[in-house]
């Protein structure tokens, strides 16, 4: 092996590349191994480019800007956010005082700060509806239907629409004498209370808008997963006498499990970080304030950077925890990209 020419091990690596990620990692390892071993006899031949100091700097030249941006806009904010969260800083003045865990205590003890977590509950329930609806239509449209692409397009399009535009569309939808009232009127139902008027009805309405907006993405993800199941599997199952429901349970369900678990995670972290729709439609009034709206208001309207940072740290920790639990429950080899 040590006698091979310069290109041969690379050729081997190349064939390895086309196969799965695991094989990639192996060839990567053995390549490094080869390089090390070749150093002895081969270095005298021609000073291989591979060994030159330039080669060692080159990757860092390519990575300099990306890493600088990554650190400046992701890691520096996280670090400073954690440090602000232990102070009473207002975001402007030069002096700040260390208050220990006081901000964190406030978040979990002041009822008006704590209630945003209950609002998340509406969105969490909505995302269950969203996943079920998306799954239903993905299964249906995996069959050979007429106008399949047409329906697929309609169901997905809301996901692409600008959030502010969606906010206005649904403000008109829910307003007195607006779209919803007129449609109900058509069916002989008179709804005489304002949809966005009291907290429960407002939160349900807003969560409904988020179902309308995000079902399309789940639907396309599920549809893609279902369509990547080889058709022979269904044929074989049919030969064995399996009905449609059994086909769903034993063929479709297992193969879309990873996508469903991913959607569940996106749903949980998404329902904690809802911002756009409620902010645009109600501005957080009538009990529709979400965690992010509250954090943004604390930081930029009430200049309580310390308290807002603590809130943001709490949200970050919750999301990290959920992601960690998901990774434990569903080992996902797609994450292994190195």
């Amino acid at each position: 092996m040590t006698q091979t020419t310069d290109t041969a091990p690379e050729g081997a690596a190349m064939t390895g590349r086309s196969s799965k990620d695991k094989a990639k990692a192996d060839t990567g390892g053995s390549r490094r191994h080869l390089v090390k071993r070749r150093r002895g006899p081969a270095a005298g031949r021609t000073r291989s480019w591979r060994d030159s100091p330039l080669r060692r700097i080159t990757p860092w030249l390519f990575l300099a800007v990306p890493l600088a941006l990554l650190i400046t806009f992701t890691y520096v904010p996280v670090a400073s956010m954690i440090s602000y969260s232990f102070t009473d800083w207002d975001g402007v003045s030069p002096d700040r005082e260390n208050v220990g865990f006081d901000n964190y205590v406030q978040i979990f003890t002041r009822p008006e700060l704590l209630r945003v977590f209950f609002v998340s509950g509406y969105y969490l329930a909505a995302s269950v509806v969203q996943i079920v609806v998306a799954l239903y239509f993905a299964v249906i449209l995996s069959f050979n239907l007429r106008f399949r692409n047409f329906f697929k397009g309609i169901l997905f399009f809301p996901y692409l629409i600008n959030g502010v535009a969606i906010g206005f569309v649904f403000l008109y939808f829910f307003q007195d004498g607006g779209t919803l009232d007129s449609v109900l009127d058509w069916f002989g139902v008179t709804a005489d209370h304002p949809w966005l008027g009291d907290p429960t009805s407002a939160n349900i309405s807003l969560a409904g808008v988020s179902v309308w907006r995000f079902t399309g993405l789940n639907f396309v993800l599920f549809l893609g997963a279902i369509q990547s199941i080889p058709g022979e599997l269904y044929e074989a199952a049919e030969l064995d006498g399996a009905g449609k429901w059994q086909q769903f349970r034993h063929i479709i369900a297992p193969s879309i499990k990873p996508v469903i678990s991913l959607s569940a995670i996106l749903a949980i972290s998404g329902s904690l970080s809802v911002f756009e729709i409620p902010y645009i439609m109600t501005g957080g009034a009538t009990g529709t304030q979400t965690f992010v709206i509250q954090t943004i208001k604390l930081a930029f309207q009430f200049n309580k950077t310390g308290l807002a940072s603590a809130a943001a740290v709490v949200l970050l920790l919750i999301i990290l925890l959920i992601t960690w639990i998901q990774r434990r429950l569903v080992p996902d080899d797609k994450v292994d990209l190195v």
């Binding site: 690379e10 690596a13 190349m14 590349r17 060692r56 080159t58 990757p59 390519f62 990575l63 800007v65 990306p66 890493l67 941006l69 990554l70 996280v78 400073s80 956010m81 239509f137 995996s142 050979n144 239907l145 329906f151 397009g153 692409l160 629409i161 600008n162 959030g163 502010v164 535009a165 206005f168 649904f170 008109y172 939808f173 779209t179 007129s182 449609v183 058509w186 309308w212 993405l217 893609g224 997963a225 369509q227 990547s228 058709g231 972290s269 970080s273 911002f275 756009e276 992010v292 943004i296 930081a299 930029f300 940072s309 740290v313 970050l316 990290l320 992601t323 797609k334 990209l337 190195v338």
Partner: protein
Amino acid sequence: MTSRDLTAAPQRTGTRRLPIGSVLTYLSLIAASMVVLLPLAVVFLTSLKTSEEVGEGSALSLPGNWFNLDNYVTAFNDGKMLMAFGNTAFILVFSIGGTVVIGSMTAYAVDRFDFRGKKVVMAGFLIATLVPSVTTQVATFQVINGFGLIDTRWAPILLYMGTDIVSVYIFLQFIRGIPVSLDEAARLDGANAFTIYRKIIFPLLKPAIATVVIIKGITTYNDFYIPFLYMHSEDLGTISTALFRFKGPFGAHWEAISAGAILVILPTLVIFLLLQRWIYNGFSQGATK
């Protein structure tokens, strides 16, 4: 799940037929389509009505004149939509260009070189995907403020460019399929690493670039949060923030607000109709990373 699976699947499942009793299936599809389209259609109708028609008629009534574009003119002029489209275009060009260059450079460095600290760099990018950017804005604001970039178009450009890790992964997946022998051949011809990146890798990344441009383009076009936080002056409105400002001055003038909303939705619809397949693949790739 790769994009190949997605595109090859329809032929394979082509033999499957829906069971009898599919009337209910079609009914559910039509009902869902109504739910999706009705709110949009009503807003479109409203955008063609006069102020009186909106005040008197029901939300579902039809406009008297189907070619009444007055509201669009109002929205476009008074709502400063032209300026907003200009700002959004400016931000789009720079942030997409930056994302493509940065993402492909990162992927090239990580995939084609073995160097000390590679694992750390990869972990750095991987962990960053877990940090939702909505949470960190409280502190990011101070960073941007430190650079003196508040209320400039460079704040969103830098943030879109610097925090897009999904595109790094899309490039990384794709670059693995490009044979290393191409690099080696070029190197024997005397090309250095930068020439290889620019002349060989970058041109071959075209499909990945298309995916990134589409996803990045649509999410940037639709983003409200970042421009809302960082660009307060009226002259720096993007389409999202400019539309948001309709809320005040236009108050109850639903015909003007509707026209503004339709103006914002229209480009998305055109792009969607033109690039459907790319968009489905791009977003499912982007979301599963």
